[in-house]
């Protein structure tokens, strides 16, 4: 009789322990998955910054080349240089990719995009410049870079969407809330973002 009581108590303890342990294990596993997804978002963000930086790196050379042929366009060139300075000064903390910081980043980069496209309109007036080899190389680099930007933005949105979906779904949302994981912001779809931005020269 006593032995039977011990057996039941043992089973009960076992079941309770299994319950507690599986909850703990689930908590750990879910937490780790969120960390992994979060890391993926940060990695993807690094790629986004990378390609924008790549564009910024092209600009000094571009400005120098255009200057050689089009001295009268100094105001357009100054706009580009200023917009570049502004764009490169905006830093976003990858841990905190909220809507406000992403919008700030977008605005600065958008100003650079429009300054660049104004420059490219101006360039149309200088056939010698357009024919120069240096410029056509830069043109190819810039086109490729603009395309990289749209690819990395899209990849970022995909990764961020996966993360957001996971942390907002029950029951993973419990873990996310208790460990302070927050929703990431997305890039707004650019006008015609399905199409690669074509840089017209």
């Amino acid at each position: 009789m006593k032995k039977k009581g011990c057996l039941i108590a043992g089973i009960a303890v076992g079941i309770i322990l299994i319950g507690i342990i599986s909850i703990v294990l689930w908590y750990i596993k879910t937490g780790n998955k969120i960390v992994r997804l979060d890391e993926g978002v940060s990695e993807s963000w690094a790629q986004v910054e990378n390609v924008y930086q790549r564009r910024a790196d092209l600009i000094p050379n571009l400005v120098a080349t255009v200057k050689g042929y089009a001295e009268h366009e100094s105001s357009t060139l100054t706009d580009v240089v200023e917009a570049r300075a502004k764009a490169t000064s905006v830093n976003v903390n990858p841990e905190k990719l909220d809507a406000a910081s992403l919008q700030q980043f977008e605005e600065a980069q958008g100003q650079l995009s429009s300054a660049l496209s104004r420059l490219m309109v101006v360039v149309e007036r200088y056939p010698d410049l357009k024919a120069s080899q240096n410029f056509s190389e830069l043109q190819a680099q810039l086109e490729g870079t603009e395309n990289r930007i749209s690819v990395e933005r899209r990849k970022f949105n995909e990764v961020a969407r996966e993360y957001n979906t996971y942390i907002r779904q029950f029951p993973a949302s419990i873990v996310a809330n208790s460990r302070g994981f927050e929703k990431k912001a997305y890039f707004e779809a650019q006008a015609g973002s399905e199409k690669a931005p074509e840089v017209q020269f």
Binding site: N32, E137, E194
Partner: protein
């Protein structure tokens, strides 16, 4: 049961029917000629050339001709194709995708070369543009599609093999982009042993010990169920048919039209 099977089959069939053209195909076909741009001999020759280069170097060069870009921009199409099919190897991202759309009466012909992350440094964008302008478009204008693409493939192979460097292919503007940034791009597995894990492990082992003690004291010895998974042969090693390696594409490359 039959009904369930039917439903499952139906679901699988419909999902396949909606399968994306950017979904990875089971087999490698490095030349896909939907636009019928090549003769049979040309197709065979190009396929043989690309296959042998793939075997020798693991670099996959995908040729894709089509008259319908499904509404995508050609560059976007090529990037999605490369990424979706996983052209090139996942570790080195050494894939190249060439998409060709023939000129029609109403539309310009279009072509693009897209380079995987690992190829960007070997064939920079400006060189892709140069290949398009030097090798492809002059031939395409003469309707020599095969010559254009075959010559471009030749230049790509030489550049990848290092027969000559990008600057020797008339590349004057050197842009020192650090391509190392991309090397470890493919999803790193981030696992960290936190205090939570340690706690979890302690509890886990504690439980194991307790259950062993409990079972030794009270339980009858039951034979450990012999469920060796019988059918787990490594079928992949039995035949060495190649597949797309899972390479990634970041949008590098160039386009051209005529």
């Amino acid at each position: 049961m039959k009904r369930i099977l039917f439903i499952i089959t139906f679901l699988v069939a419909t999902t396949n029917a909606f399968a994306d053209i950017f979904d990875r195909p089971a087999e490698v076909n490095l030349v896909v000629d939907n636009a019928h741009a090549f003769t049979h001999e040309q197709f065979e020759a190009l396929t043989a050339r690309l296959d042998s280069f793939d075997r020798a170097s693991t670099v996959q060069i995908q040729i894709y001709t089509t008259t319908d870009l499904q509404g995508y921009d050609i560059v976007d199409f090529a990037q999605r194709l490369g990424e979706g099919w996983g052209v090139g190897q996942a570790e080195t991202n050494n894939g190249i995708v060439i998409v060709y759309k023939p000129k029609t009466e109403t539309e310009n012909g279009e072509v693009t070369i897209q380079t995987g992350y690992g190829i960007e440094a070997l064939i920079p964008d400006a060189v892709c543009k140069r290949i398009i302008n030097n090798e492809m478009i002059p031939n395409f204008r003469k309707d020599s599609v095969y010559e254009g693409i075959n010559n471009a493939v030749g230049v790509c192979i030489s550049l990848v093999k290092g027969d000559f460097k990008a600057e020797d292919y008339g590349y004057s503007y050197s842009y020192s982009y650090d391509s190392d940034d991309y090397d470890d791009y493919s999803g790193s597995s981030y696992e960290e042993l936190t205090a939570h894990d340690v706690l979890g492990l302690c509890i886990f082992f504690g439980f194991l010990i307790i259950s062993v003690i409990l079972s030794m004291r009270y339980g009858k010895k039951h034979p450990s169920s012999s469920t060796y998974s019988s059918g787990s042969y490594h079928s992949s090693s039995s035949h060495s048919s190649r597949s797309y390696g899972g390479g990634h594409f970041g949008g590098g490359g160039a386009r051209g039209s005529w």
